[in-house]
């Protein structure tokens, strides 16, 4: 299977745009990028907008594009949805359920509604437990206590994303960050600072999936092979996880590596879901780039910046390009494999992409390669 085309809207503030409209724009651009006509599309896999849940949303998007998909619908794994739906699309094509699939996502929490992001406290609200930040902060504190992870090491992830994002004309936040400025950034929920937390952005993205043979028939210009994918999921509530500092990223990556027949040493560039710096740091550990607990040391000294040992989030990720949950990481993986990134890793042949949702609750992985 290959990713035949990618497309996206502007990122940031898109006032007045509804998510169906944004999805249509992203799908049109992805079809243009693949150089194919809408008529060949017979699979439509959509992530339900996090900003507003609505029933049978996938068919609303299909209607807006006058599509009658043989396979369609919405999936909800939060931010993990996209790499997962790409996997579901690959399996559907392999099983003959469809031939050419679009995977799409649109969200407008910046200018629309973000009510769904404000997690209900439930009975724990009586103790002052609100919002998603605190779940990540709870995990970060445990990681710092168990392994000695330092604030500056979380900061190195934010600095890398912001440095890369500053070079990306599509990035919503193109303001480079230094470690000193990071350390001055105010606490939100300690041990997390403002600059540990991703952007809130409107925007949409879409990718086109088909077999390599179909891509040849349709004369797709720059198909990027999908080498492997995987998923893993854990409990909804952070306190209920027996181990807080290892995530479902581990099993997800193992599945994807096995399918691809490669390991972490073969990866040249990585797009690691960075809704919070701690999520990226732990994913690097769980993906096997270093030992559990050594993530802090791994990200130091420019190791994860362009020119370093493993450049990550070369378009700026969620911390700088757009807070959109997930597909921007896939699209940047495709650009790296095509050699067209604004922060191109020279000679990169293998890229791993992570997506995750909730509070490290759901996870999915994609390995792209040339």
């Amino acid at each position: 299977m290959v990713i035949a085309g990618i497309g996206h809207t502007a990122f940031g503030r898109l006032p007045g745009r509804d998510t169906v409209s944004m999805n249509v724009e992203a799908c049109r651009k992805a079809l243009e990028d693949a150089g194919i006509e809408k008529g060949v599309v017979d699979g439509l896999f959509v992530k339900v907008p996090t900003s507003r849940f609505e029933s049978m949303y996938g068919q609303k998007v299909a209607e807006a594009m006058r599509l009658q998909p043989r396979v369609g619908g919405v999936w909800d794994q939060g931010g993990a949805t996209n790499c997962s739906t790409i996997g579901f699309a690959c399996m559907s094509i392999a099983a003959g359920l469809c031939d050419v699939a679009i995977v799409a996502l649109a969200d407008n929490p910046k200018t629309g509604t973000r009510a769904a992001y404000e997690r209900a406290g439930g009975d724990d609200a009586a103790y002052g437990w609100f919002g998603v930040h605190a779940g990540y902060a709870m995990i970060a504190q445990r990681h710092m206590g168990e392994f000695g992870t330092q604030a500056e090491q979380l900061g190195a992830i934010a600095v890398a994303a912001r440095t890369h994002g500053a070079n990306n004309p599509h990035a919503a936040l193109r303001l480079p960050l230094t470690i000193d400025k990071y350390m001055e950034s105010p606490w939100i929920v300690e041990p997390l600072r403002r600059d540990d937390i991703c952007l809130v952005s409107d925007g949409a993205a879409a990718v086109v999936i088909m077999s390599e043979a179909r891509a040849r028939e349709l004369k797709v210009a720059a198909p990027v092979p999908i080498l492997g994918f995987g998923q893993g999921h854990t409990s909804w509530d952070v306190p209920q996880r027996p181990v807080m500092t290892t995530t479902a990223a581990k099993v997800s990556a193992q599945t994807a590596y096995r399918m691809a027949g490669i390991g972490p040493a073969d990866i040249d560039v990585a797009q690691i879901y960075d809704c919070y710096t701690i999520a990226a740091l732990m994913t690097l550990e769980d993906y096997g780039f270093c030992k559990k607990g050594d993530g802090g040391k791994f990200v130091e000294g420019g190791n994860i910046q362009l020119g370093g040992r493993l450049p990550i989030n070369t378009s700026g990720g969620l911390l700088s390009e757009t807070g959109m949950p997930g597909l921007q990481m896939v699209m940047e993986g495709v650009r790296q494999m095509r050699g067209t990134s604004h922060n191109q890793v020279k000679g990169a042949k293998k890229c791993i992409v992570s997506n995750q949702g909730g509070v490290m609750t759901t996870h999915s992985t994609l390995i792209l390669g040339v």
Binding site: G122, D123, Y127, G128, F130, A134, Q141, P191, P239
Partner: protein, 130 residues
């Protein structure tokens, strides 16, 4: 000003909140497999059976992790920042969210003991350094 976000009582969890009001921290234990858990649920999450009973916790636990809110996400807590919210694991196994009271410096895995406090007439399962 938003009101205190009092816990919602249900048929399932009323024994938990009644217990705290009477000075006891209760948890559920499966009569079939012995697994112990919180928060209240109708089936044992281990063996999935629905035969269970309430037991009183010793009040001993350990601090799994904690956070400090510097921003309030609800009016009721605006005057309280910075305040902590902690994950506590009871000696019997169940875990719950709580607050750690007192001035002791916090560290992961430190022992803590139950220190029930009332807020707006609701008894809450807080803890202090043990």
């Amino acid at each position: 000003m938003e009101a205190f976000p009092a816990p919602e009582r249900t048929g399932l969890n009323s024994a938990y909140w009644d217990g705290l009001a009477e000075g006891r921290l209760m948890f559920q234990r499966c009569l079939a497999c012995g697994h112990a858990w919180l928060p209240a649920r109708a089936e044992c999450p281990e063996c999935l059976r629905a035969e269970w009973g309430w037991e009183e916790a010793s009040g001993q636990g350990r601090l799994v992790s904690w956070v400090v809110y510097h921003v309030a996400f609800h009016d009721w807590f605006k005057a309280r920042v910075p305040y902590n919210v902690a994950t506590v694991e009871l000696a019997e196994g169940p875990r719950l969210l709580s607050n750690i009271v007192g001035d002791a410096a916090l560290r992961i895995d430190m022992p803590v003991v139950l220190a029930i406090e009332r807020e707006e007439g609701v008894a809450l399962a807080r803890f202090r350094a043990g």
